[in-house]
Symmetry: C2
Subunit: 230 residues, 2 copies
């Protein structure tokens, strides 16, 4: 609906890829709805995935023994995080919905996107004990993981060699998003686009656009072990 | 035993950290046994986690549409991967045992280590359809995930808010290592070292050294859904 803000965190090297097209479709459809859409195109930004001392501007809280979690927490509180992190946190703060668009790499997100999670969602900003899970600091936001796989739908089932696809969503949806208080919409998965016809890939794009039309009416999943492991 | 080769892939910024000490203990104990131990100290190496075109030396197989999986596969076959990847692959190839030492970041490994997985374990080297899982290309190797957590042991249980710790091991142990044919030893987990006494941290180091003394007699876990989800 008009006025809603969406941040798409996007991790693919190639604009012509299906991931690139899925991202474009989302920008178009959500813009058409009157949403304001921002994209963090991680490879294009050459986003830094490594969690290092460079993320803290100025002096360290404890320069004797570097503790990334403590240092970024302290830096956040005094406004001393590096500019790229401040920028991303601004985008997250404003967003009603976060869409993560990526190809599945090794049962998870590509390292460049994992680095976004590691570095942007710092203590103080996204969580701060005891404000985690249902009382995480990013409440009233939604997240959606939209990704492509190499393997077919059949191998990602309970009896399949790679197990139920929900198993691998646990760390991302529950461990990260739910931990920060974000409610999670059902994932959007395009299985094995490299092994289907151009027509079927086109249908994948249409299906995504269709889903986005009624996205704001969707209920979040029940992000508890039952959803993942029955 | 004498002659065995071990690669420790290590991801912590601070040598004085518990992770740094755990790494040092492993180097010492395994060297004492006569093993030859190599360490990839990812932060010290400023290891690149991003999967980009830079990983391929020379011309691309398809310069019209960049596909990282295809390009690295092709580059591997013609010896055209970047030098940092060739170096890491050499270490992996020689190793009988891979130890991954890291602090748990967001229910997973830090991005810098995920980048090591994404970039080093390319098709052709670590797997090549249908050579995956039990017939993966890195057979006859063992892997062990050794990590520290922020949260306590209690929260990582079936009834705990963060779920059984085994849930989050699925993508790493099954999705990556098992996929490449590597057999997996039980993980080594130090829970919440930041919240225990100096003495207890010392005991954690002793326990790790003790375990390493008889490590070569351990049987791999049964890396199937049952182990993870019962």
């Amino acid at each position: 609906p008009p006025g809603r803000k969406v941040l798409i965190v996007y991790a693919h090297q190639e604009p012509k890829s299906l991931n690139g097209s899925l991202k474009r479709v989302a920008v178009e459809e959500l813009s058409k709805q009157g949403c304001s859409v921002t994209v963090s195109d991680l490879y294009a930004m050459q986003f830094e995935p490594r969690a290092t001392r460079n993320d803290i501007v100025g002096c360290l809280h404890n320069s004797e023994e570097f503790n990334y979690g403590v240092e970024t927490w302290e830096a956040y509180k005094r406004g001393g995080l590096s500019n790229d992190l401040i920028e991303e946190q601004k985008k997250v703060k404003e967003a009603d919905l976060l869409i993560f668009q990526f190809p599945l790499y090794w049962f998870s997100m590509p390292a460049i996107m994992k680095g976004w999670m590691d570095r942007v969602l710092v203590q103080g900003f996204a969580h701060e004990f005891p404000n985690c899970y249902d009382s995480g600091l990013l409440q009233n936001k939604l997240a959606l993981f939209s990704f492509t796989t190499g393997g077919s739908k059949e191998i990602y089932t309970k009896g399949g060699i790679s197990g139920d696809i929900r198993y691998l969503l646990w760390p991302m949806q529950h461990g990260i998003m739910h931990f920060c208080g974000v409610r999670v919409l059902a994932p959007h998965i395009c299985f094995a686009p490299e092994y289907v016809s151009e027509e079927e890939r086109e249908e994948m794009l249409i299906a995504w656009a269709q889903r986005l039309k009624t996205l704001w009416k969707e209920e979040p999943i029940n992000c508890s072990p039952e959803w993942y492991f029955e």
